[in-house]
């Protein structure tokens, strides 16, 4: 394709064969197929943004990325001491399983919390970028999710190291170190990440409209932690009280986490169904809410 510049007598030149058409959004959402196609094509940006954000955060920290493990590890120990004191002292038989449960529960919950909290701030933090470039805005919370995964995965070897050490002192503990049911773990982690990402899309939009949303999230996630089967076992709820596990978007996934990692059994059917329902709901509502409000970002940032 070649054209003649016509603002004056400009020389002929080949133009990048790229015609873009910008039209009003139907039902307030952009055309979703081109949107996700572009999202996929620009994934390198989200991955690099996650990498650079990590680099910037730990650039001037003496212990650097070690904090990614130390922080949830210390927090788990504090909660373990708290739970042990509340139960009236340590129990030789259940002490290690309680510690292991709190450890994997905190690691998983923090993974989801980081996706939600960082994702919620990703749009307001990306102000200049949003005012300057056209790209699928969902890449920003996605970048936060990628970053959260990068911070999460080193905690898994840490969990195994603690359990291995515990088994040396308490060889009769029932916590498995290797089990076929661990094959469920990648699915559970993926489900938790997708649900949290869907929720982060909702909170990212809310934070654009109401700037105190991210502050509110700090307190909400703390209460959320106490209401999730992280510091308590799913079996502690009976009868209709078990509904509290299922109305919590992260509840069924965290209950499944307990059964796979601590009991070494497959998740129950109700946990799998609950997990699936929340994955679909969070992504469907999150995607619609986010894409239908994307246009507003440029005027509200």
């Amino acid at each position: 394709m070649s054209t003649t510049g016509s603002g004056g007598n400009k020389p002929k030149r080949s133009f990048t064969p790229l015609i873009q058409v910008f039209e009003p959004h139907k039902a307030q959402t952009p055309p979703l197929i081109p949107y996700f196609k572009e999202f996929w094509e620009r994934r390198a940006f989200a991955l690099e943004l996650a990498r650079f954000a990590d680099k910037a955060e730990y650039l001037e920290s003496r212990l650097g990325k070690a904090w990614l493990i130390l922080n949830p590890l210390f927090l788990s120990l504090i909660y373990f001491l708290l739970v042990t004191v509340l139960r009236g002292g340590p129990n030789k038989d259940t002490g290690l399983s309680t510690l292991a449960h709190i450890l994997i529960g905190i690691f998983m919950f923090y993974f989801a919390q980081n996706i939600i909290s960082d994702g919620a701030q990703s749009i307001t933090a990306g102000g200049r970028l949003i005012l300057n470039q056209a790209f699928p805005r969902a890449l920003l919370p996605f970048s936060s999710a990628v970053r959260a995964f990068g911070q999460f995965w080193p905690t898994i070897p840490t969990y195994f190291a603690v359990v291995l050490l515990g088994k040396v002192f308490y060889p009769k503990t029932h916590i498995p170190l290797a089990d076929l049911n661990y094959l469920w773990a990648p699915f559970i982690i993926a489900a938790l990440a997708i649900t949290a990402f869907g929720l982060s899309l909702i909170f990212a939009v809310m934070n654009v409209y109401f700037r105190d949303t991210s502050k509110l999230l700090t307190y909400t996630t703390r209460i959320w932690l106490y209401g999730s089967p992280v510091l308590w076992k799913p079996e502690m709820l009976h009868g209709w009280h078990r509904i509290f596990i299922y109305i919590n978007p992260l509840g069924p996934t965290l209950a499944a986490t307990y059964h796979v990692w601590i009991d070494g059994v497959r998740p129950s059917n109700s946990e799998l169904i609950g997990t699936g329902v929340w994955v679909v709901l969070a992504m469907a509502i999150g995607t619609y809410f986010f894409t239908s409000r994307e246009r507003d970002f440029a005027v509200r940032i």
Partner: protein, 290 residues
């Protein structure tokens, strides 16, 4: 000066091409004459803004508890605008604050989709619509340039091959490209941002108040680079309150007023009329009814 009428405005003096190009992947055939960089068809852009002083969830809940709604105002930033911009044009856009200049630029860049109407753009766009490449002050200039390029759709290899060229163009002192951006002066920051936008070899360059960065020497260098782009028949749209820049650099100008094109034509004349408006505060008599 050409006065706006109800028809489509075509900038420049060239004869319209009859060869059409088809935009693929869109519903129906969308045709664009091959000499056009941008076609704007009956464009209207409106948006709502929250006029509450406290834009917080707490405030919204308090208002809801009293049965009050969040106070919103609808802004009609661009009104039924139709415009053809040929390749190789250097278009200056002037107008008072709130005229709709920045919204128009954002809509051409695809950042702000239309409320009604359509924009067809032929070519790769590079933008400098908000000051600064601006991602993370803790990261180096090089890291920020890489992120800016990736956001613009370039590959990492493409950007890395340009970073030294960008640093040289921005007149960064030795080694500064690898220093955190927070150590940069505001001039250096602005120069890097400008260097990034002109180094992406765009077909269409959109600049919103971006020419104020740097000293007189850098300004001359920027003008020179833009003239090079124009010689390659690339299209440039400039929003600026520096009216001398519009007169010096542009081959055509648009005066926007309350979301419409009030006048367009030779930059010197448009600037002259606009200056009269700024001094007197009322529109020229021949434009009052527009």
């Amino acid at each position: 000066m050409t006065i706006n009428n109800s028809g489509v405005i075509r900038l420049g003096t060239s004869t319209p091409s009859t060869t059409m190009m088809t935009a693929k992947g869109y519903k129906g055939d969308i045709l664009l004459p091959d000499d056009l960089a941008v076609r704007i068809e009956d464009l209207t852009i409106t948006y709502k803004i929250n006029v509450d002083t406290k834009k917080t969830l707490k405030n919204a809940v308090m208002r809801a508890s009293k049965g009050e709604k969040v106070r919103m105002r609808q802004v009609e930033a661009v009104k039924k605008m139709s415009l053809d911009i040929p390749h190789g044009s250097v278009v200056g856009i002037v107008g008072a604050n709130g005229a709709g200049k920045s919204t128009l630029m954002r809509s051409i860049a695809g950042i702000m989709p239309p409320t009604s109407g359509r924009i067809i753009v032929n070519g790769k766009i590079s933008t400098l619509l908000a000051l600064g490449v601006g991602f993370n002050q803790s990261l180096s200039g090089r890291d920020n340039i890489i992120l800016g390029g990736l956001a613009a759709g370039l590959t990492r290899d493409e950007i890395e091959s340009k970073t030294d060229e960008i640093a040289a163009f921005a007149d960064l002192p030795d080694g500064f490209i690898d220093m955190p951006v927070r150590t940069y002066s505001s001039g250096m920051y602005g120069r890097v941002a400008f260097a990034v936008s002109v180094s992406m070899t765009p077909d269409i360059l959109l600049l919103d108040e971006a020419l104020s960065a740097g000293d007189a020497a850098f300004k001359e260098k920027s003008f020179h680079r833009m003239r090079e782009l124009v010689e390659e028949a690339r299209t440039i749209l400039i929003v600026s309150h520096a009216l001398a820049t519009i007169s010096d650099l542009c081959d055509t100008a648009i005066w926007m007023h309350k979301g419409t094109i009030l006048a367009h034509g030779e930059p010197g004349k448009i600037v002259e009329e606009y200056l009269k408006f700024l001094e007197v505060g009322t529109l020229p008599s021949n434009l009052e009814d527009m």
